[in-house]
Structures are given as structure tokens and as C-alpha cells.
Amino acid sequence: MLDSVQLLGRKGLSFFQRLGRGHILLVNILAGLPGLLPRIGLVIKQTYAVGVLSLVIIVVSGLFVGMVLGLQGYNTLVDFGAEESLGVVVALSLVRELGPVVTALLFAGRAGSALTAEIGLMKATEQLSAMEMMAVDPVRRVLAPRFLAGFISMPVLAAIFSAVGILGGYFVGVGLLGVDDGAYWSQMQDKVDMYDDINNGIIKSLVFGVVVTWIAIFEGNDSIPTSEGVSRATTRTVVHSALAVLGLDFILTALMFGD
């Protein structure tokens, strides 16, 4: 009985300790961001690893998500004789929800896990300690560029996802199912608002970018420096990022579109 109470207390304390460490790390990373200006090359290199290499999966997923939306939306709308609204359905679901959320989930799987594994292995092979020995701050040299790269890449990827998805919906709806070409675009332009829909989608993707990259970097930096520890940290990155993205998406949606 007493043992289980002790265990509960220890678990609770270690949870709060990790939470605290995560936020302290975030503050340190943010403080290190201005120092990146003279070393912009580091950020570009990381943007390549995090963003450019994720392009293929984002473009392919976006295309297919858009095509499925076109197909399903058409089948539902045609019953009401409203298949002209297909463009609105595809564009609004992509720009408001699927673009930021699916991109963030894919981003966590493709780039977040790689970040955790890389940083975790750097820690396991004591590269980070070696840097500290040479009076190089690993937070500024290793973590901050990766954080900024994730912050830049995520909205870019989400915008590409949405744009490609709308083209995919166009291809299926107009090309294969015979929705009117003009109606697809004009209904979309009529109903999609620049400020209410597209800006809020961009804000969402920025928030998700920060959260996913932060979790990935923290898990890597906080992993137990063994091969098992790194593998666990990588798994945790993907699971926690997915949960955080989905939970935050609900909160952000309620705040943005709630009224």
C-alpha cells in the first residue's frame, strides 16, 4: 500500500520534472535564436533535412487526400444536386483542418522522429558533451537551428499540402466526374475567406510546427543515452506529437471558428 503511494508520488514528481525541463529547454532555445543570425547556414542545412526531404511525402499525401475528398464529396453532394459546391467542400476542409493537421502528423513521423533519433544518438555518443567541453553551447549550436528550421518548414509544407490537395480534388471532380470547371473555382472563391480561413490555417500550422519540433528536440535531448533509450524517445516523439497536435487542433478550432 505504502509502496504504491510512493510509486505514484515518484511518477507524479518525475512527470512535473520533465514538464519543467521541457519548458526550460524551450526558453533556452528561444534565447538562442537571435544568435543564429550570423550562422544562417546551419538553419539552411536543417531546413533542407526537415523541410525539403519531407516534400515528397507531403505532396503525394496531399494529392491523394484531395482526390479522396473530391470523390467522397461528390458522392454525397450529388444526392442533393449540389455537386457545384465540391470546390468549397474540398478547399474548406483542406485549408481549415486537413492541411495543417495531416501535415503536422506526417511531419512528426517523417521529420520529428529523425530529429529525436539524431539528437539522441549525438547524446549517446557523447558528441553533445564533447561540444560542451569545447565551450560550444549545444543548445545554440545543435538545437536552436533545428527548432527554427521546423518552425519555418511546417507552414510551408502545410500550404503546399493544401494547394496540391485542391488540385487533386479538381482533377477528380472536374476531370473525372464532370463537375463544371468554372463552378468549382468560383464557388470556392465565394466561400473561402482569406482572413477567416486561410490565415487561421497558417496560424494553426505555425503552432503545430513549434509544438512538434519542440517535442522532438526535447525527447532527443532528454533521452536515456542507450540504444534502447533512443528508440523509446523516438516512439514517444511520434505519439506525443500526434496527441498534442490533435488536442491543440480542437482548442484552436474552438477559438477560431467557435462563434
Binding site: V156, A159, V192, I198
Partner: protein, 158 residues
């Protein structure tokens, strides 16, 4: 891979993102229908505009020639004042044009439909459309129908 190639790829990546955003802004959203060519404003007074919103279309013969710019309430006359912005290339509307509020489809959104009169003079900035017809409210219509039906059947029973 050399730094140069990496930099080029990152450049292409960011440019693709910009292009996607540009497409979302211009091709998908209503940004391109904002402003553009400045129009002239005309106002119209209605007893009932229920359902009409700012940026609802203003049409003539079914073609959109402008948008609702503002909806105000006149405290003195107790009427709704609708300010419409008509595109400046459509500057040949007669002065006695009439405005009605219609519904697109059975359950669709409301829009303002203009019908041309026969006046020689044209509407200009700041003019008011005198002839207006209110928004059709389904509940009122059913109410009128039911009350007429009741009085008719009451008269028959006498």
C-alpha cells in the same frame, strides 16, 4: 552534397511554399474579389433585410455587378439602410432602378437584385434607390396564408 546544392533546394522549397500560398490567396480565397476596381456607392432602404450580409452579391439580370458594403440601421425611420458598392464600369443604371432582396435557391443565401427602370439619368455616387422590395420571410408568408385560410373557412361556415 555540397552546401550550394542544399541552398538551392531550400530556395526551391521556400519558393514552392510561397507559390502555394499565393495560389491559396488568389485562386482559392475571396481576396481577388476584394476591392480591385473602385466602385460607386448607392444606398437603399428596406423594412426587412433578414438574412442579407455584408459582402452579399448585388446582381442585375442575374449577373453580379457589385457587393453589399455595409448594413446600417436608421434610428429615425426605423429602417435598414443597405450601402451597396457597384463596380464603376456599370455606371449606366437608370435613376429609377428598383432593388429587391431575393434568395438564391430555396435555402440559399440572400442577395440584392436590381431591376432597371426607364429614367434618362443614371445613378451616381451617394444616390438612393427609392423603389425597394423587402426580403421574403418564410414564417410571415406562412402566417399570412394560415390567417387568410382561417378567415375564409370562418366565412364559409356562416
Amino acid at each position: 552534397m555540397t552546401t550550394r546544392v542544399i541552398e538551392i533546394w531550400v530556395g526551391i522549397f521556400v519558393a514552392a511554399g510561397m507559390a502555394a500560398l499565393f495560389m491559396l490567396a488568389m485562386k482559392v480565397s475571396n481576396l481577388s474579389t476584394y476591392g480591385g476596381d473602385e466602385g460607386y456607392e448607392v444606398t437603399a432602404r428596406f423594412e426587412d433585410i433578414s438574412g442579407l450580409k455584408v459582402r452579399s452579391p448585388v446582381t442585375m439580370s442575374g449577373v453580379r455587378i457589385g457587393r453589399v458594403k455595409a448594413i446600417q440601421f436608421d434610428d429615425q425611420a426605423l429602417q435598414a439602410v443597405v450601402v451597396m458598392e457597384i463596380e464603376s464600369r456599370h455606371n449606366m443604371l437608370p435613376k429609377d432602378t428598383s432593388a429587391s432582396i431575393y434568395t438564391a435557391g430555396l435555402l440559399g443565401e440572400k442577395y440584392v437584385g436590381l431591376e432597371a427602370g426607364g429614367d434618362q439619368n443614371n445613378l451616381v455616387q451617394g444616390d438612393e434607390i427609392k423603389l425597394t422590395q423587402d426580403s421574403l420571410v418564410l414564417e410571415k408568408l406562412i402566417g399570412q396564408f394560415v390567417s387568410r385560410f382561417m378567415t375564409d373557412s370562418a366565412a364559409e361556415n356562416k
